[in-house]
Symmetry: C2
Subunit: 339 residues, 2 copies
């Protein structure tokens, strides 16, 4: 495999506020020969996810920060093209964490083999991968979903939200959600089977948004799936039913803040309404993967869950794909096709 080149995207500088193209740089390296026990992976797909914004800051969190001048990393799907590891022969398809590059070298130990006959490989970065399990664990375990619950999903057409909506429908719940375009709302209503949708960009004020959410949830909200924060959260606190659950998956409206923004002024409602707000990280719920990989492929096969993906082509476009997460350019799972 000598003479092979691999393009990769490196962190050029840490974003201040919304990421800009200058925070990224494209580089090309010579792919080295693999060592004992190592494998060479040709990446076909890579994932961009909102949590990566946190890793671009130089702070300790549940994942270590990216380093300036080094290639970024993240979920990817690839095929083994060279192998010194008999457990991972050439031709094996892997779901692994060495994305943002065309070729990756690994010892295979933390890579997950996938069966591309089950679903297209890119599905393992979305519905059948980390975003899907995030939706599954967040809704069922953290959200303690019960049949008949009234569910409100923010960023409902996103990688996680779109799966949350469809799992809740498969479980016999009333589901409403908000998204940022009429096209997304139409898909949620007509394809994902969501009962009521809101294009939040038509809501000028928090009061407008709350009125729209109240109309979409005439029986209040039992489970509020939080991906965005801000006015959505204030409105939800006002509309929650007693004993409501609020899985906190993310707050994308806050990720690019350069100064502290006020939290919800009405958080005190959590006391009188006995609300539970609970943050979670999917990696702490991997024990649910077995149930997840039983349920979700079945729902996919039955048409109860539909895949929705936005695909950018070529590693050069990976920064655009990532930046697009914060402007709502993604519709369903945002992916970059590398080959």
């Amino acid at each position: 495999m000598s003479g092979l080149k691999s393009k990769e995207i490196r962190l050029a500088s840490r974003p201040s506020g919304t990421p800009v193209p200058e925070n990224f740089e494209l580089a090309e390296i010579d792919v080295p020969a693999i060592g004992d026990g190592q494998i060479l992976i040709r990446n076909h797909w890579m994932s961009v996810d909102p949590y990566m914004r946190g890793r671009m800051m130089d702070v300790q969190s549940y994942v270590p920060p990216f380093q300036i001048g080094e290639a970024l990393s993240g979920g990817a799907i690839g095929e083994v093209v060279d192998s010194n590891n008999p457990d991972v022969p050439v031709g094996t398809w892997l779901n692994h964490m060495n994305g943002w590059r065309e070729y990756a070298i690994s010892d295979g130990s933390f890579d997950q083999k996938i069966d591309p006959s089950l679903a297209p490989p890119e599905a393992f970065l979305g519905v059948l991968g980390m975003p899907g399990l995030t939706a599954y664990a967040g809704l069922l375990r953290i959200g303690e979903l019960k049949q008949g619950d009234n569910v409100f999903v923010t960023a409902a057409s996103g990688a996680v939200g779109s799966v949350v909506c469809q799992i809740a429908k498969a479980k016999g719940c009333y589901v409403a959600g908000s998204a940022g375009s009429d096209e997304k709302c139409d898909w949620l209503k007509n394809e994902a089977g969501v009962d009521a949708v809101i294009n939040y960009k038509n809501c000028k004020t928090q009061q407008d948004l709350e009125a729209a959410m109240a109309a979409a949830c005439p029986k209040g909200i039992d489970v509020y799936f939080e991906n965005v924060g801000g006015d959505h959260l204030i409105s939800a606190l006002n509309l929650m039913n007693p004993f409501g659950r609020m899985p906190l998956c993310g707050m994308i409206s806050r990720y690019n803040d350069t100064a502290p923004q006020p939290g919800p002024w009405n958080l005190i409602l959590a006391v009188g309404k006995s609300l539970k707000m609970q943050g979670f990280i999917v990696s702490n719920h991997l024990d649910m993967a077995e149930d997840f990989l039983r349920d979700v492929p079945a729902w996919l096969a039955e048409g109860k869950i539909k895949r929705k993906e936005t695909i950018y082509e070529g590693i050069e476009r990976a920064p655009d794909a990532f930046m697009g997460l914060f402007s709502g350019a993604n519709f369903g799972k945002m992916l970059v096709k590398l080959s």
Copy 2:
């Protein structure tokens, strides 16, 4: 019993912001003769509690609002002095909800008989009553207390907080707390056995408070028992350990707000740290009363829990006692002695 007079405190007007004396009026009524099945109770003790502030506003909540011109109500301990109900004979001691008056008439059906040989009757308004059960349910069920947890208690010398501190110590935890005077802090340290205390009035800024809390909790916070809100909550979010639990019992710093105050700007930390913030109301946890009445009297007898009460004498002082809750005049349980 003809010719008997009963003084009572009525709601004269709804408070705007901090309650003032003009919101209350003292009245005296002729005690009517009791009807079939009724009992007449001479109240010896009554309770003032922060939750009553909410009932003074004309909004629906988990308890209905007080009405202007009518006597207030709340927890009280009294002795039956006249009875047309053979189940509740003269001489019975009752814990009931017709406080803010010297005499109460009832059919006895919702009143709880107490055994004054177990503890002084007023203890059933504090450690052995609603505040005690609030502490017990909030810490053990909502807070999911585990041995060795690092616990931080706000309003630690209050009716609920003082019991939370002592239950956590009885359960083998490290306990720190904040209170509003050196005298309260001394009691917490020397009598209640709290490991580290903060007089929050010495902290000029949120940053000061957070530094003091960090010093008091060198291993971070696993359970934060929330009675106050505001800067304490912001600081706690910064100091919580992963998988921390935050029972939300009340936010007394917010009860007299006349305009919305910003919520915690750092609420987003709940995602990455997998925090659980959960509001609760003691009346939804009455199923724990049996365990509570097994454990807490035993801890009292063993000296693991000490009672602390602030007593105002005479029904005329009940408004002062209530208003004192918001200026920190209470040290332990605030009580009014009526006879």
